[in-house]
């Protein structure tokens, strides 16, 4: 009976873990559909987690914290877009740079604000949620799923979505058809950063309740794995995020039950690696993904 309850708990708490992965995945799908690959979402998750904790610490408002995290994500997404789109940067390297700078900057802030090298104090307050039996599900999780559906509609059923996908498939043709590739691409990276930022805020305020040094811990890359796993489509991404979230939730729950904390912590990473290996080459990426576009 304890077993069944444990697994039920894991299945429900997976919903929580899936949320930042899902938001980051949707953001990255929109970014990649426009032809830009941003591996800096790892750093964006981290920076926005920090921004949200710091803001709610000073303002005492969780909601302001969420807002600040989202805004930080938008700013970093736009910064990355500036480099990737207008300055024709090597996108992988620019993304790694965002990750490095985010790590340094957030630790700097952690020490400057709280004088602590490892973690911030716990944040006070609770984000809105609703209950299923004895478990609770955060409202933002539902919002994330709603965003997935809306993003699918946006990408595949609207004119703007069509134009955005054209930029990722054949920017030269899109440009000649009057679609401003530069503008679409920078809008996509900004939107992508915004969603990852919301995810980062959720990670810190809801899942952890604190900011800890390097707390994104590869979650951005798990989202990147999910982008390919879901075939650059936000709807399957919900399922993918749940699977990846389940691995984290199971690792966490089992640690408390059986010990072997360190070994169990490898579960999400090994699981992601296994899924990536098993599903590699299954679906087709946008044709011009990662290729800078220049008119002349």
């Amino acid at each position: 009976m304890v077993e069944a309850e444990l697994w039920l708990f894991v299945l429900i708490s997976s919903l929580s873990y899936m949320t930042p992965i899902l938001l980051a995945t949707i953001g990255e799908i929109i970014t990649e559909r426009s032809g830009i690959v941003n591996v800096g979402i790892e750093g964006i998750l981290l920076s926005s987690a920090f921004a949200s904790v710091a803001t709610s610490f000073f303002s005492g408002s969780m909601l302001l914290g969420v807002l600040a995290g989202t805004l930080a994500g938008a700013l970093l997404g736009a910064l990355f877009g500036l480099f990737a789109v207008y300055l024709r940067a090597d996108q992988i390297i620019a993304g790694l740079a965002i990750n490095m700078a985010s790590y340094g900057f957030t630790v700097l802030g952690l020490i400057a604000i709280w004088g602590h090298h490892g973690a911030s104090p716990r944040v006070e307050g609770q984000l809105p949620y609703f209950s299923i039996g004895q478990s609770t599900v955060p409202l933002l999780t539902l919002l994330a799923i709603l965003i997935a559906v809306l993003s699918w509609f946006f990408l595949f059923r609207t004119r703007t979505g069509l134009a955005l996908r054209a930029c990722g498939e054949e920017p030269r043709a899109a440009d000649a058809m009057g679609v401003n590739t530069y503008r679409y691409r920078i809008a996509a990276t900004t939107l992508g950063g915004t969603l990852a930022g919301l995810g980062g805020a959720f990670l810190a305020l809801e899942i952890a309740g604190v900011f800890t040094r390097g707390m994104s811990a590869g979650m951005g890359f798990i989202a990147l794995a999910n982008v390919a796993f879901s075939g650059w489509n936000p709807l399957p991404a919900v399922f993918g995020a749940y699977v990846f979230g389940f691995l984290s939730a199971a690792a966490d729950a089992l640690q408390q039950e059986v010990g072997y904390a360190y070994l169990l912590k490898t579960l999400p990473y090994l699981g992601t690696l296994a899924i990536t290996v098993l599903t590699a080459r299954r679906s087709r990426a946008p044709l011009r993904l990662g290729v800078p576009y220049a008119r002349e």
């Binding site: 004119r159 498939e169 043709a173 440009d175 000649a176 058809m177 009057g178 044709l287 002349e296």
Partner: protein
């Protein structure tokens, strides 16, 4: 009368310092077809991309119906009724035709999807250019893609349509249909700029012609008042002595045999559907066909870069089917590919590119022998007059023509029996092109040549025999010297 378009003193200097246009003046009158004639690199496309708002001029003024304009994007040009059909088309291949039309039209004016499709059907039926709206563009033939492009321009209410080398990818039959369509639209007050390097088409379709040479306007004429020879002279700048073919006696034994070869391209489309041909020692065999007829796949199979689905390749009587690029080269195949991005490592130096694909010959054990590589580079750049500043500079820094000379030169400088030359003179000025052609003819003494080129004059001039491909099959074989263009053109279009 105020001209429809007037471009004055247009100069374009690219970021890398290349001067593409030097003060060009160009006018388009209402209801005319105006040909823009010039060699590769003369600046025709650059001038039109400026008119279409894709590029900004470094200097000069543009007037549309007398009003000064400075387009910052194609969108702004479209709003003024200007449309451009690019040589390689500007459609998103993975989208349907309907998606493409909808996207283009709505970037200029709001319109519902259903309305775009309805109007496209109606217009297509009226002009006899129906296009399957629900088909994905990548599945369409070049002719169909062009129809879709023209339909797109008309849906945008374009009164000025720029056609950039519109027949380069078409079969002769499709090309003829296009010329008919132009005449019909002209009657409906649509004006055309017809960019081409083909004299015959100028004569056939245009009212006036402007000739560009090295980025300058060297004259505008009524087509009826100027001969093809005069235009050619203006275009090239001087009379060029064409290579005369000296028949090298009877061909020798069979060197290459290709039997029932079938293959798909990277997208999985069946491109070769059972090709059989042979090449004898001492021959130049030309392969003619519109782009996409299977010539690229044929070349790649012979170079070991593509595996055939069925069929045999024999070289000197030995079965070499499915061998690797390295093994093919060892068997004596030299390959100058269509794309310089393929045949050169552009981020590496001239020296390093001089040994590309025969790097093993310039290594002793595991270490490279740069002395011998440098020597080889020197031979190539001297013989093929590659202009460079330092043998160790990146090939990327060379102009396109110099890159081409380096690549073709490297193959011609090598030991081998069979040369596969795919578009060997593309991007070359007339003098260099003649030099390369001369070298190709001389290669016959060492073995044989398979020449693949979209320049039919080149094919006719150099080939002892011409094999015509159409949709992946051999549809005819002609003798080089006595073939006429008319017959060749018919075969290329699949008319038997």
């Amino acid at each position: 009368m105020v001209p429809l378009v007037s471009m004055k003193g247009i100069t374009k200097v690219y970021a890398d310092g290349t001067v593409a246009l030097r003060g060009v003046t160009f006018e388009l009158a209402e209801g005319e077809v105006h040909a823009l004639l010039g060699e590769n690199g003369a600046g025709k496309t650059t001038l039109m991309r400026i008119l279409y708002g894709e590029l900004r001029p470094t200097a000069g003024e543009i007037f549309v119906r007398g009003q000064s304009v400075a387009f910052r994007s194609p969108q702004e040009a479209m709003r003024r009724g200007i449309a451009m059909v690019h040589q390689n088309f500007s459609l998103v291949p993975s989208f349907t035709v309907a998606d493409n039309l909808y996207l283009a039209v709505t970037s200029v004016k709001p319109m519902r999807r259903g309305e775009v499709e309805g109007r496209a059907r109606e217009l297509g039926a009226r002009l006899g250019i129906e296009v399957p709206l629900e088909a994905r563009v990548e599945q369409l033939s070049a002719g169909m893609k062009q129809r879709a492009e023209i339909l797109k321009s008309l849906l945008l209410d374009a009164k000025i349509i720029i056609l950039d080398e519109p027949t380069s990818l078409l079969t002769p039959l499709e090309a003829r249909a296009l010329l008919g369509l132009i005449k019909e639209l002209k009657a409906q007050q649509v004006s055309f700029v017809y960019v081409t390097h083909k004299l015959r088409e100028v004569k056939e379709v245009a009212d006036r012609v402007t000739v560009l040479r090295k980025g300058a306007n060297v004259g505008t004429f009524q087509v009826s008042e100027v001969s093809e020879a005069e235009m050619a002279k203006l275009m090239v700048g001087a009379e060029v002595e064409r290579v005369r073919r000296s028949r090298s006696g009877a061909p020798g034994e069979v060197l290459l045999e290709v039997e029932d070869l079938a293959a798909r391209d990277d997208m999985g489309v069946e491109r070769l559907k059972g090709v059989t041909l042979s090449v004898r020692r001492g021959e130049v065999v030309g392969i003619a066909g519109v782009q996409g007829s299977g010539q690229k796949e044929l070349a790649e199979i012979l170079a070991g870069l593509r595996r055939p689905e069925r069929g045999k390749v024999r070289l000197g009587g030995v079965d070499v089917t499915g061998r690797s690029p390295r093994e093919m080269r060892r068997a004596g195949v030299l390959y100058s590919p269509e794309s310089r991005e393929e045949g050169l490592a552009l981020e590496m130096s001239l020296v390093e590119n001089s040994v590309l694909a025969r790097q093993g010959e310039h290594a002793s054990g595991v270490t490279m022998n740069w002395k011998s590589a440098e020597e080889r580079a020197r031979q190539i750049v001297e013989r093929f007059r590659v202009v460079f500043t330092d043998l160790w500079e990146r090939a990327r820094n060379l102009s396109g023509g110099n890159q081409q000379r380096l690549m073709v030169g490297r193959e011609l400088e090598s030991e081998g029996l069979l040369l596969i030359a795919h578009e060997p003179t593309q991007g070359l000025d007339v003098v260099s092109a003649e030099k390369v052609r001369g070298e190709i003819l001389r290669f016959r003494e060492r073995g044989a040549v398979l020449l693949i080129s979209s320049d039919l004059d080149e094919v006719l001039e150099l080939s002892d025999r011409i094999v015509v491909l159409f949709e992946g099959r051999v549809v005819g074989e002609l003798k080089g010297g006595e073939s006429d263009l008319e017959r060749l053109a018919k075969l290329m279009g699949g008319a038997l």
